[in-house]
């Protein structure tokens, strides 16, 4: 059979050209939806630009000076965002690891339970906050009905400063069923022989957890913590729903993303909102960096790196 031989170089050139054609969507996305906007956030933050101004006016770092020294909301927003993110990350990782370990025992109906724990993840955010809005409601909510039954005073879980952040964090933990599935898959890959050997040597559950399970799971835990942190730092939806309508809202709802949204889209100060975005970007970058650095000593890989 006669095969027409194409010169390798010509074939390679052809392949490279095709690749570039297929990758046009990715090029466009990376350029115009990712890196150029990232640059524009910083550039825009150096200007003054409100709804009534036709053209932006260059003002240097004034937006940042205003943000750090004059804005009464900024430091509060940073504080509540970090508290919320820490609570949700720790809460969801502990909760899902615990549930995954329980399910990892040979439990009857494991598939069904896994499906149940996963359900909250597929409920759209707006519906989730509607449902919890009712559960937490001061007059109609079940928790308050229970409190009254127990002779306790009613509590405003979504309107009382001391309850808002923990209440919102609990909702986030409830929706973290996807982590359970990931952890469960990870636990399945821990070789059983290690556990059996340790058991014969009389190691307690806690010892086995610390010396076998945790080291094997560390890359997965790290991955989940990182993703969960980046996602939860961006929290904005509960504020949009529970605090969106009134402008003088509780400081506990003024998460950084919400502050940015309110500044940009309600107060129409797009460039000042860009300054908030950029500070937020740097803050998350720092957190990610710290996580990566800190994880170097803890992470354990079965085959010595990969």
């Amino acid at each position: 059979m006669a095969v027409t031989r194409v010169k390798p170089s010509a074939m390679a050139r052809h392949e490279a050209r095709l690749a570039k054609i297929y990758l046009i969507p990715a090029f466009l996305g990376l350029t115009f939806l990712t890196y150029l906007p990232l640059l524009s956030v910083f550039v825009l933050s150096l200007f003054k630009w409100t709804a009534i101004m036709p053209k932006p006016l260059y003002i240097g770092f004034n937006n940042y000076i205003r943000l750090f020294t004059k804005d009464m909301f900024f430091w509060t927003s940073m504080r509540v965002t970090i508290i919320y993110a820490l609570l949700t990350v720790v809460g969801s990782v502990l909760y899902s690891l615990a549930v995954a370990m329980l399910l990892n025992r040979s439990i009857r109906g494991r598939g069904l339970f896994r499906a149940i724990f996963y359900v909250p993840y597929i409920i759209p955010a707006m519906a989730i906050y509607m449902i919890w809005g009712l559960l937490y409601n001061k007059d109609f909510g079940v928790i308050n009905a229970l409190l009254v039954q127990l002779g306790q005073p009613r509590a405003g879980f979504l309107i009382d400063s001391k309850y808002i952040i923990p209440s919102l964090a609990l909702i986030a933990v409830w929706t973290s069923g996807n982590l359970i599935v990931i952890f469960l898959a990870g636990l399945g890959s821990v070789p059983r022989v290690y556990h059996e050997a340790a058991e014969i040597d009389g190691a307690t559950f806690w010892k086995r957890f610390v010396h076998i399970t945790l080291p094997f799971m560390s890359p997965i835990i790290f991955y989940n913590v990182l993703l969960s942190l980046i996602a939860n730092m961006q929290v904005v939806v509960p504020s949009l729903i529970y605090a969106g309508s009134n402008r003088t809202t509780y400081p506990e709802y003024t998460f950084m993303s919400f502050l940015m949204y309110r500044t940009g889209f309600i107060n129409n100060e797009l460039s000042y909102a860009s300054a908030i975005s950029f500070v937020f970007f740097v803050l998350i970058g720092l957190f990610t960096l710290v996580l990566f650095k800190g994880s170097k000593n803890i992470l354990f890989y079965e085959s010595g790196g990969n």
């Binding site: 409830w174 996807n178 949204y261």
Partner: protein, 281 residues
């Protein structure tokens, strides 16, 4: 500790973990039950501790449909969702294929940019993207700012997923076809695509979840109530209706139904997809 007592301990631990799992599962399902039972009650009864409605008020649903224009909202949501899923999946396959199989100079660099963008919180670029779509391109109060981003592979993550999946397929398979003179698009469609169907479904499901879940972008880009999606329609209950809880809960039940159906059909792939994303990266 003797074998006998250790066996006893094992059994005790089994009973304990099973009860704990059942208890936790009930707690997880409780909010959903509460939503459903409240959707069939009178407003005063909603505030009680009753677990079941004293009378099952099915008529709450037709009444809810009068204030919550479900079918209009569903239609609007679908006209965003379907193009996103279709175009996002197709472009993700094309890009993932290129990164996996086609060599060109600078490929590692472009792929690196792609992976790095995964760590970028999407909310950071919200303002400049808004300025771009609305002020420069004049696409305010249209669905385009919500749909067009999905024509770029539906996000770096999906591209990465497809690439990883194609890389697990032996290269000899498409080399052979190449020698037989098959073009790269034919190789992709006829040889690779059938073996990466699970990844394709996972990508489609993730795009579905992403759009289905979205509140922020829809809030930013949609202002006309004729264009409201399910999420935005639901949100009105917190304002204009002084929260009529029975109608709010009936509407919430209606609005989670399509997602639950998709979940039931694609459940196996959902779980597989989550596992894939958790372990392969």
């Amino acid at each position: 500790m003797g074998i006998q007592s250790r066996k006893k301990m094992e059994r005790l631990a089994d009973i304990f973990s099973f009860s704990a799992v059942v208890l936790l599962a009930l707690l997880v399902l409780f909010p959903l039950w509460w939503m459903f039972r409240s959707s069939l009650m009178t407003n005063p009864e909603i505030g009680s501790l009753r677990f079941f409605p004293s009378r099952w008020l099915v008529q709450n649903y037709p009444e809810a449909l009068e204030v919550f224009e479900y079918f209009k909202y569903l239609g609007n949501t679908m006209s965003i969702l379907i193009p996103c899923v279709v175009f996002g999946t197709i472009t993700a396959i094309l890009c993932g294929y290129s990164f996996a199989r086609l060599y060109f100079r600078g490929r590692a660099f472009v792929f690196g940019l792609c992976i790095a963008s995964l760590l970028l919180p999407s909310i950071v670029t919200l303002i400049p993207l808004y300025v771009g779509w609305v002020r420069f391109l004049g696409l305010g109060s249209t669905y385009w700012p919500l749909i067009l981003p999905y024509l770029t592979g539906g996000g770096a993550f999906n591209i990465f997923l497809v690439r990883q999946f194609i890389m697990t397929i032996p290269k000899e398979l498409d080399e052979a076809a190449k020698i037989d003179g098959a073009g790269s698009l034919r190789i992709l469609v006829q040889i690779l695509l059938p073996s990466i169907i699970p990844a394709v479904i996972v990508v489609a499901l993730f795009i579905f979840i992403g759009v289905w879940n979205d509140v922020l972008l829809q809030t930013v880009y949609i202002s006309n109530s004729e264009q409201y999606t399910i999420a935005l329609g639901l949100r009105r209950f917190n304002g204009s209706y002084g929260t009529d809880w029975k109608l709010a809960m009936a509407s919430t039940v209606l609005s989670i139904l399509p997602g639950v159906l998709v979940y039931l059909v694609g459940q196996k792939y959902f779980v597989e997809g989550i596992v894939m994303t958790g372990l392969k990266s």
